[in-house]
């Protein structure tokens, strides 16, 4: 019946207007006052009183006056926060209902519910990282090192877990803080992890760099990463050479010691023997350290080499492959003590 539709439409319209006029009151209060309103208005119409209900605002005023509530305008200041909160909550409820109604949506929501505790832990960590970054004004590692910063981290994480369980919320505003921290977590978690990981790689790189010492250009010889103490040269005939002086491409003499002023050099390749390499007494440049092979000598009680004990160091090979077309001397020199070993491979060191 068209008439009925119009009437119920008017009833609904009037009821909505009355509720709107009561919007400055708390939600529950308004509901209690108006939950039976439509039904009662319909009864009024059914009784033959017509559908002219008058001014909804006046009706609302009379209603709240009789109910002993504050007059319209008396609590105007509270209006906006209530509206916003209610609007957001209503919207959220509507969205949730729609998500739940689809199967996939329901599954996803359930997944989030199960992940809840994991999220509480993540939220605690993220809040700690953010606070630590702000307080110390520097980038934070993923986790505190072995120091007292574990204590505030654990405290924040425990707080987050308790909030997740709905505990430790004695004041209403803490609930807003909880929501804000969750939002901050979602926003900041990826950048925080990125910064934390970046700091790890930086640390690793720094440590690697510090352990790699670039040898100084002026002295010391490294071959394949190992320190060289003595150099043995061989001529084209494959026989060892003595009193050889070598120079690099800059014209600097090649010297195995890092300190030409010292009187002896620990032979790194003679394990545990008490022989020490000593510079040549016949040289004038580099204190004799540039003449190879270096001889060895014993030290006296003061740690100074005794010249009379100087003798040749046994070379690694008595003889190596002569080069093609080189003339070979028939006998070895008397000063050399040949090492009783097989011919070495030509690849040498």
């Amino acid at each position: 019946m068209v008439g009925a539709v119009t009437v119920s439409g008017r009833v609904h319209e009037f009821a909505m207007a009355v509720r709107a006029a009561l919007a400055d009151l708390p939600v529950d209060e308004v509901d209690e006052l108006t939950e039976g309103l439509e039904a009662d208005l319909a009864d009024r119409v059914a009784d033959g009183d017509g559908d002219d209900f008058g001014d909804p605002v006046e009706y609302a005023d009379e209603l709240r006056r009789a109910a002993g509530l504050a007059e319209r305008g008396a609590i105007a200041t509270k209006r906006r926060p209530v509206d916003v909160g209610r609007g957001v909550r209503d919207a959220a409820t509507a969205v949730l209902a729609r998500i739940r109604s689809s199967k996939i949506g329901a599954e996803v929501l359930e997944l989030f519910a199960v992940l809840g505790p994991a999220f509480w832990l993540l939220r605690g960590w993220a809040v700690y990282e953010l606070l630590a970054t702000i307080v110390s004004n520097s980038e934070q590692p993923l986790l505190p090192g072995a120091d007292l910063r574990w204590i505030p981290l654990l405290a924040v994480v425990v707080c987050s877990v308790q909030w997740g369980r709905g505990r430790w919320l004695p004041w209403r505003w803490l609930k807003a803080v909880r929501v804000l921290s969750s939002v901050a977590t979602v926003v900041a978690v990826i950048p925080l992890i990125g910064i934390g990981v970046g700091n790890i790689t930086n640390d690793v790189w720094a440590e690697a760099s510090s352990s790699y010492t670039v040898p100084t250009a002026q002295s010391g010889v490294l071959a394949g990463g190992t320190v060289v103490s003595n150099i043995f040269a061989y001529g084209p005939d494959g026989k060892p050479l003595k009193d050889v002086r070598l120079f690099d491409d800059s014209g600097d003499p090649i010297v195995t010691t890092t300190d030409p002023t010292q009187s002896y050099l620990d032979d790194a390749n003679q394990n545990g023997s008490d022989t020490y390499l000593v510079p040549s007494q016949a040289a004038s440049g580099q204190n004799g350290w540039d003449v190879y092979p270096l001889q060895q000598a014993s030290l006296d009680a003061n740690g100074n080499p005794v010249p009379s004990t100087s003798r040749d160091v046994v070379p690694p090979f008595a003889q190596i492959q002569p080069l093609i077309g080189a003339s070979v001397a028939p006998t070895p020199t008397a000063a050399m003590t040949p090492k009783p070993s097989a011919h070495p491979s030509s690849s040498g060191r």
Binding site: L33, G36, D40, R44
Partner: protein
């Protein structure tokens, strides 16, 4: 004299009396008050009064489901409400008696005193 002004002061006791007679929902109470002779009573005033009396603890409520119509919230009187009604009835009787005597002194209407609820 505008009865709506008079009514505002005594609507509590009127509503309590109607409810004590029989439990009722919002418009039902309005209907019964009007049938008793209070034509000018506004339904908004009645609903507000019902809400206030309930909040004060004088009334209890329960919902009655209905198959073809909306659910109705019924109000019923409880012990506290009965005591309140008795006190207010006494107050009213004293007050109305005093007022009647005052305004009817020497008038023809002195003999007839109307009491609310009497048909």
């Amino acid at each position: 004299m505008d009865t709506t002004q008079l009514l505002k002061g005594v609507l509590d006791v009127a509503v309590l009396a109607v409810i004590q007679d029989e439990d009722g929902y919002g418009y039902d109470v309005v209907r019964r008050l009007r049938q008793a002779g209070l034509d000018d009573v506004g339904d908004a005033s009645v609903y507000g009064t019902l809400r206030r009396l309930y909040a004060a603890g004088a009334l209890s409520t329960y919902v009655v489901a209905s198959d073809d119509g909306p659910h109705r919230k019924y109000y019923g009187i409880n012990a506290q409400g009965t005591a309140l009604l008795a006190r207010q009835r006494e107050t009213w009787n004293l007050f109305s008696g005093t007022m009647s005597r005052l305004v009817n002194r020497g008038s023809a209407a002195e003999a007839r005193i109307r009491v609310i609820g009497e048909k």
